[in-house]
Subunit: 156 residues, 2 copies
Amino acid sequence: MIRLNRLTDYAVVVLSQMGRDQDRVHTTARLAEDSAVPLPTVSKLMKQLARAGLVTSRRGAAGGYVLSRPAAQISVAEVITALEGPIALTACVDGAVDHCDVEALCAMRGNWNKVNRAIETALASVTLADMTVSPAEMFALPGRRPPGGKPAGMLS
Amino acid sequence: MIRLNRLTDYAVVVLSQMGRDQDRVHTTARLAEDSAVPLPTVSKLMKQLARAGLVTSRRGAAGGYVLSRPAAQISVAEVITALEGPIALTACVDGAVDHCDVEALCAMRGNWNKVNRAIETALASVTLADMTVSPAEMFALPGRRPPGGKPAGMLS
DNA sequence: TTAAAAACGGACGGATTTGGTCCGGTTTCA
DNA sequence: TGAAACCGGACCAAATCCGTCCGTTTTTAA
Ligand code: SF4
Ligand code: SF4
């Protein structure tokens, strides 16, 4: 069902959690407790996110993780990319890593690109900060696109 | 990588194939040959698509499959839905079938809805006919949204 | 009347991916 | 020095995906 990886979903949830307390250091234990995601899983996630540079780790006692950037400047697209690699709906779009064995004969090879880009744009326009507000007022925040405004041009 | 099911991809490819010859009946054998997708797989796909009503089957000798509607009126979203069920990025969006075990405590439960809807819209705005044209002139066809026009309002 | 050509339904199984756990290091602080 | 945290990776159970196969049913044409 075009499902997002469950782990990726968790990552967004946990990162948003962190966003609520911008620059406090959060231990995995605390994050796990607050988000109901099992501890070892949170740990694994944070490791990956740290490697991708989205969070910064502080080792040792009183250590933990901090968001590298304010939550309003991290898009869910970045989170996805960090955990699952480049967003590639099919194997023949531009950033794809692997190869399609039908690609040589496929008449529509490359036509997924536009669609893929549209989705990419959609995901890039939502930040972690957006994900924490109540659904009702999402995208109605001051300073963001007004409700009737330009919708970030998909399929341009 | 937010990857589309390979079978779903194939389905779109094959259906587009069919769209090139609007109302001829196509046998699975022929479709397989033309698209390089293995025959039994095409067969399986067509069965599902027939059940979903996207194609009409004609049994017996000289039988085959016909598109139920012109290719320009079938969106890729429909194809995806037919094969994989409702488009649901996570388990907590509106049309989702299954349930998230963290849902009770998750602070952002429901916030994926908007994102999900945006993607849905993107996929719904691309038809099978669009997928067959050369990438260069996609969305530059007469009668469709002009290049600078309203992009079907995502995240509305 | 018969034979061939097609769709139909479903079962099956191998391969791959995913989700989650565990453990032995290493770094830092009190 | 010891406790608290991250770090890296191995590991595995479960689920999913993908492709194949086979017997049945329907229709057409010889
Ligand atoms: S080449 Fe064709 S079959 Fe292969 S991934 Fe691209 S669209 Fe799908
Ligand atoms: S409830 Fe939270 S964790 Fe569960 S699917 Fe929705 S966003 Fe993800």
